[in-house]
């Protein structure tokens, strides 16, 4: 994964609650065995509608997705994160995320910024009024800023996820350094645990 320090840019206001992973990337798209090309599937059930917010010209080029509460609930499909990233978003803001989605985001360098419902609402209204309004998400400081609103709020990001974001680190490589601990654990596992063959 690529290091992420600061995400700066404009946002698309997707003002709906409970945007689940089936909406983000419908199951037809999960048949692919590749890891790329999912941008076309992002919200594909809604994209035919010319009024859909992502089809509105004033939001073209935005790199931050403002979602409603309970964004990314539902299935474990990491394709949802890939689709959002491959479309061009580097961060998603919501007042509450589905936990697997949030975790998957952390594995791919997509910044999931959880803010209070009030802030989420304020940002949504502001971006609807002024699509050119800039947001700055700082991974190092764990802050989201909207200079035009004179707003700066902190968000939660665990030390370990932050470390991996800033350094672009791969979890597997880090864990493999603990190979001896894993072997020691395996030596102590009870003999009655099942095997699959």
């Amino acid at each position: 994964m690529e290091p992420v320090h600061i995400v700066q840019g404009t946002a698309v206001p997707l003002d709906r609650s409970d945007v689940d992973t089936d909406q983000i990337i419908p199951s037809d798209w999960l048949k692919r065995v590749e890891r790329t090309g999912f941008e076309k599937g992002l919200f594909s059930e809604w994209r035919d509608d010319p009024d859909f917010v992502m089809n509105q010209e004033q939001y073209a080029g935005a790199n931050i997705l403002l979602g409603g509460p309970n964004f990314g609930t539902g299935s474990s499909r990491e394709h949802a994160v890939w689709a959002i990233q491959q479309y061009g978003f580097a961060a998603v803001v919501s007042s509450r995320f589905g936990p697997i989605f949030r975790n998957n985001s952390s594995k791919n360098g997509l910044v999931a910024v959880e803010v209070s419902p009030e802030v989420s609402d304020q940002l949504m209204r502001a971006v609807e009024t002024d699509p050119t309004m800039e947001l700055i998400i700082d991974v190092e400081r764990r802050t989201l800023e909207a200079p035009a609103l004179d707003l700066e709020v902190g968000f939660e990001l665990s030390d370990s996820v932050q470390h991996r974001f800033l350094n672009g680190l791969d979890d597997i490589g880090i864990t493999m350094q603990a190979g001896d601990d894993i072997s020691a654990f395996e030596a102590e596992r009870p003999g009655f645990k099942p095997v699959t063959r």
Binding site: R16, S17, D18, D20, D22, Q23, P26, S27, D28, L30, K31, R32, V33, E34, R35, E45, G68, P69, N70, T73, G74, S75, S76, R77, E78, H79, V81, R96, G98, P99, I100, N103, N104, K107, N108, P117, S158, D159, S160, D171, I172, T175, M176, A178, D181, I182, F185, E186, R189, P190, G191, F192, K193, P194, V195, T196, R197
Partner: protein, 467 residues
């Protein structure tokens, strides 16, 4: 003396390989279930980095999401589905993982086959690139869904990095009214917890209603833990659990069985241990339930009327209800029992086991499906199908006019040819009623197998007592 612990804390503690302050714990994984949809990019990652599968013998694979439920002796017609299934077969062969292909008696929905083969046991950690892995928690295992990056991590290291979770107790005491099932229990939990009430927590289901459930009923309950956001759902193992496991192909034998029993009997929440969150539900009030909206928390009793958005105080819920009614084509105030249904789907990892099929067959026996109703009965695995056929359930279904199919996920998520069409309304025993889940524009209502079967006969939502 150790502090008092909950069930989930005990299982968690038993699997910590490495713990460091401020870092997620490194947990050992006892069983990794793999299927075709969330694994191809993970195997690719291994190849690209020259890594291997650390413990192929703790990994099991099957094909379920894409497989057709008819004509399975022919190649899969959908080319992209065929490629995905084929990719899994090649990947498992290359990395030495046991794989159950379509047509094999052991093949089935990944969450049905683990338990039925006795691979799912108390006190284990179990993961799968699928959110309904929570199903296995019915045995007192810590089981949860992971993403594809994590699938790759588990393949390579047999471990997973996990931040600590809160604990949540869901206590359901009392006695269920007759006609209510495990599905109604979990739908009632959803009504109480909504779609977010479990976020950040591992839920333990307890109380006399849970203790009285069979293993299959407990699996139905744990299966839908993710629908209220919980990381996992668990139930303490007891004699029901041990009786279910004894003699299954992968269950411990002889002295190992005795050793396992001793260990498993410790897997209970200590008297006086505290939970971060507690929910209490009266079992006596759990009558059959049905969802009316587009998330599983939008659920009411079958006896109720379609709610009006005005009934929701929270503006977000009100807004969501309005949108859901529009998508579902429902009018507030309509009795649920008056809503006509086009398709009935009995299947999925929530309700495709033998007891589910027996419950549906009991309702179907000697009756006829309503004219024009489309019906699918899709057993959860090759073994469930064989057992049902041995008991003559397939004949009961076919005589009543139901379509009897081959095992797989089928219309639960419509990755195979079994799909709803635009505007088509289903009564489905699956776990998700999201927009388009069962096909673009399809309208899904979640119900129990008994209600699904009764609905197929009545043509509108019905419980067996209504027939």
């Amino acid at each position: 003396m150790d502090a008092k612990k909950t069930l989930s804390e005990k299982v968690w503690a038993d699997h910590v390989v490495k713990a460091e302050d401020g870092q997620p714990d490194l947990l050992y994984i006892d069983l990794h279930l793999v299927h075709e949809v969330t694994s191809p990019q993970a195997f690719d990652g291994l190849r690209q980095t020259g890594r291997t599968v650390r413990r192929p013998e703790l990994t099991i694979s099957t094909e379920d999401h894409n497989v057709p439920t008819e004509d399975i002796d022919k190649p899969i017609a959908d080319e992209i589905s065929a490629k995905q299934v084929d990719t899994l077969r090649r990947n498992t062969a290359e990395f030495g993982i046991t794989h159950y292909p379509m047509g094999d008696i052991n093949q089935g929905i990944v969450h049905v086959i683990g338990p039925e083969q006795g691979m799912t046991q108390p006190g284990m950690t179990i993961v799968c690139g699928d959110s309904h892995t929570s199903t296995h928690g019915a045995f007192g295992a810590l089981a949860f869904g992971i993403g594809t990056s994590e699938v790759e991590h588990v393949l390579a290291t047999q471990t997973l990095l996990q931040p600590a979770q809160e604990t949540m107790a869901i206590t359901i005491d009392g006695e269920l009214p007759t006609g209510s099932t495990a599905k109604d229990v979990v739908l009632a939990v959803l009504a109480a917890c909504d779609t977010g009430g479990g976020i950040g927590a591992i839920a333990e289901f307890r109380g006399s209603v849970i203790e009285a459930l069979s293993m299959e009923g407990r699996m139905t309950v744990c299966n839908m833990s993710i629908e209220f956001g919980a990381k996992a759902g668990m139930i303490a193992p007891d004699d029901t659990t041990f009786a279910y496991l004894e003699g299954r192909p992968h269950a411990p034998k002889g002295a190992d069985w005795e050793a396992a029993l001793d260990a498993w009997r410790q897997l209970r929440t200590d008297e006086g241990a505290s939970f971060d969150r507690e929910v209490v539900i009266d079992g006596a009030g759990i009558t059959p339930h049905v969802t009316w909206g587009t998330n599983p928390g939008q659920v009411i009793k079958l006896a109720d009327n379609v709610p009006s958005p005005d009934m929701f105080e929270d503006p977000v819920a009100r807004d969501a209800a309005g949108r859901a009614l529009e998508y579902m084509g429902l009018t507030a105030g309509t009795p649920m029992r008056d809503v006509p249904v086009d398709t009935v789907f009995i299947g999925s990892c929530t309700n495709s086991r033998i007891e589910d099929l027996r419950a549906a067959a009991e309702v179907a026996k000697g009756r006829k499906v309503k004219d024009g109703m489309r019906t699918l009965v899709v057993p959860g695995s090759g073994h469930v199908k064989a057992q049902a056929e041995q008991e003559g359930l397939d004949k009961i279904f076919v005589d009543a006019g139901f379509d009897w199919r081959e095992p797989g996920c089928s219309m639960c998520l419509a990755m195979n040819p079994d799909k709803l069409t635009e505007g088509e309304r289903s009564a489905s025993t699956s776990n998700r009623n999201f927009e388009g889940r069962q096909g673009r524009g399809g309208r899904t209502h979640l119900v129990s197998p008994a209600v699904a079967a009764a609905t197929a006969i009545a043509g509108t939502f019905a419980s067996p007592e209504d027939l």
